[in-house]
Point group: C2
Chain length 393, copies 2
């Protein structure tokens, strides 16, 4: 589904309604957006510039670069942000008392410069209402993620054809990357935060699953370079090991997130047991994950099932454990809500989350699956459609 | 060359000397490093945590995650940054009056939290001494970038074998990406700043060279998605067009940056003229680029040569122009110095810079080359060794 201009404005207006609703709850009179992810969220474009969102009145796009959009409505070309207050005055916009800037997405230097534009206002964290709005997707956003998931599933179907005996985990990953790219994957993983470096995803085999990573991914992997310690470490795929594939689902401005497991030769019973436990957790989450339920209940049910099966030692890592079992996904790979024991978020219709209860079995590798779900009144609906079972390579 | 532990400490100590020298010039008593790029620069590791660099005394590594380094010297495991002042006190470190934090690399929220650790100190921009230190490379760093350039050149040699008639620019890029990855490329481009999104580089053909991008790359390209408007746009490569290849040189924690141009069929004389002008600019820069020379002189000589040839309309873009002709390169793709008309930087031995005088010829495409250079007392020495001429695909 391509947006034509009118649909695009309708879609943008829907998002604005949600942002303004959250601004209002947080007592914010206007937000000045500048980060790439939020520029895209609020305009469906990517440009160097600013989007001014007032509580009352039309949003204004201040565009530094490129200058090719100049003929459009709601758009004012500027050379530098210091021109914004004067332009707002010309438009008859009063500068509100409380202005939100993206404290979580912009550098301290950037925020300091933007604060200077509004010397008489109180500056607060505009990242909060923006991420709250982004947490609940529009139908169009869900459709984008559905398309991502469809392409991603199509590529996962071809994983088995990427494999050749005696290849390394990295070689397998490289062949999957090529198939992903030819299928339309953008080859770029947009993440939030400063310690989330990744290329097109990760293929983790055998004991490498237990190598801890500094990044906030559910599984680690040593990588092949100290500067990017995540994912495949270049060892040959061996019988008796699992191969966890968690590769990019970014085919448009959005992305899906999916993990499946393959095996080389026979693997021990404990790996199957833990994998089945992951599926059991997902089935339980799918059932209870309805609007009104606490996100922390999803975490709690996962912990309960893991304890019943006596698999705590392997859950979400072995020598280093992740403290979440899932996360929102959308324009960025790591959005709200984060599925933790202490989350205060209540599920709402149209939230989209990846849930990834995973286990690390020493000397075998990682098992467990990850789906991207949308919250519906019937429970969680998976957008990533692919067999759950461990497949043979 | 692999670092063994002692060499690693020697290399780190060299960097510390330089950082401390710049701290001293800037009146900074200590820096607390937290960004990935600077954690790597100061430790040759990537971890979630902090490196405390005092003007006097040993630097301390505070590691949140992973916890596997615990047995090493200079290393203190912590759960949260709020533990740092207490640990420093235990070690007998006095908290200085002026503490530097990475204002350019960390978010406003992150800096605000870290500022809270030092309520009695003045907080200033620690990004400044760190980027000044990183601007001048150690011999070991130059060796890393040399290795990057060697691998990158090897891949460029195979570009012609990646090409098939009637393929799109994107299909060519995907085949180059695979060769890069098999050659050891990490597949991740580490950049500084919030509007520098890129996958593994760009292949730009024909008129797509003139599509302006919001990102701060020398050339644009429309890309194939509004969320990532840069590089290949998916059109079929046609006779009469140039194909500019500016793909990743990131094979270790460092990277080289190199651009070369191929053509499909015959291209007009003006394209050759502009390409030769680019080479002429590089030869001039190579000659004058010695320690003591102003970076702005490199820009000035480029502008002078372009004017002499009457090629101003095409220089550094046509419908939108970049205002720099090069940039430092190292751990990040865009380091200091930026080669602009107004740069105040004086060249020093061992600075490493990519210089990329490029032209966009309407209806033909982009021409010009880019090399990564190290500053020596003899002038600029290119690390990216590959024929300069436009090659046929």
């Amino acid at each position: 589904m391509k947006l034509i201009a009118t649909d695009m404005m309708q879609e943008i207006n829907l998002r604005m309604e949600s942002i303004i609703n959250h601004m209002s709850k947080n007592g914010i009179g206007a937000i000045l957006v500048a980060s790439g992810a939020n520029i895209y969220y609020t305009t469906l474009r990517m440009f160097r510039g600013y989007v001014y969102i007032p509580l009352v009145g039309d949003p204004i796009w201040f565009v530094v670069k490129p200058n090719i959009f100049e003929k459009e409505n709601h758009l004012i070309p500027i050379h530098k942000p210091e021109m914004i207050p004067g332009e707002l005055e010309k438009l008859g916009y009063a500068i509100p008392e409380n202005i939100g800037l993206e404290f979580d997405a912009l550098s301290y230097s950037e925020i300091t410069r933007l604060k200077g534009l509004f010397p008489n206002s109180q500056i607060c964290n505009g990242s909060v209402p923006l991420s709250q709005a982004r947490m609940v997707k529009t139908d169009w956003e869900i459709d984008q993620i559905k398309q991502d998931a469809m392409h991603q599933s199509e590529v996962y179907r071809r994983v088995v054809h990427c494999y050749k005996e005696n290849m390394t985990d990295l070689e397998l990953q490289i062949e999957i990357e090529r198939v992903l790219r030819l299928e339309g994957c953008l080859g770029f993983t947009r993440t939030a935060g400063s310690m989330m470096d990744i290329n097109m995803g990760s293929v983790i085999a055998g004991d490498n699953a237990d190598a801890p990573s500094p990044f906030d991914f559910s599984m680690g992997g040593a990588g092949v370079c100290a500067a990017l310690p995540v994912g495949a470490n270049g060892t040959t795929l061996k019988p008796g090991e699992t191969v966890m594939v968690d590769m990019s689902g970014a085919f448009n401005g959005y992305q899906s997130d999916m993990t499946r497991v393959w095996r080389v030769g026979d693997i021990p019973e404990i790996a199957y047991k833990a994998h089945d436990c992951s599926i059991k957790i997902l089935r339980a989450c799918e059932n209870i994950g309805k609007p009104g339920i606490k996100v922390s209940d999803l975490y709690a049910i996962a912990e309960k099932i893991v304890a019943e099966e006596g698999l705590q030692d392997y859950f979400m890592g072995h020598s280093q454990k992740a403290k979440f079992i899932g996360h929102g996904v959308g324009i960025e790979l790591n959005e709200l809500p984060v599925i933790t024991a202490r989350s205060k978020v209540i599920l709402e219709k149209n939230m989209v989350m990846a849930i990834e209860p995973k286990f690390v079995i020493p000397e075998v590798g990682a098992v467990g699956i990850e789906n991207t779900y949308v919250v519906t009144s019937e429970g969680l609906q998976s957008l990533t459609i692919f067999p759950d079972e461990i497949q043979e390579l």
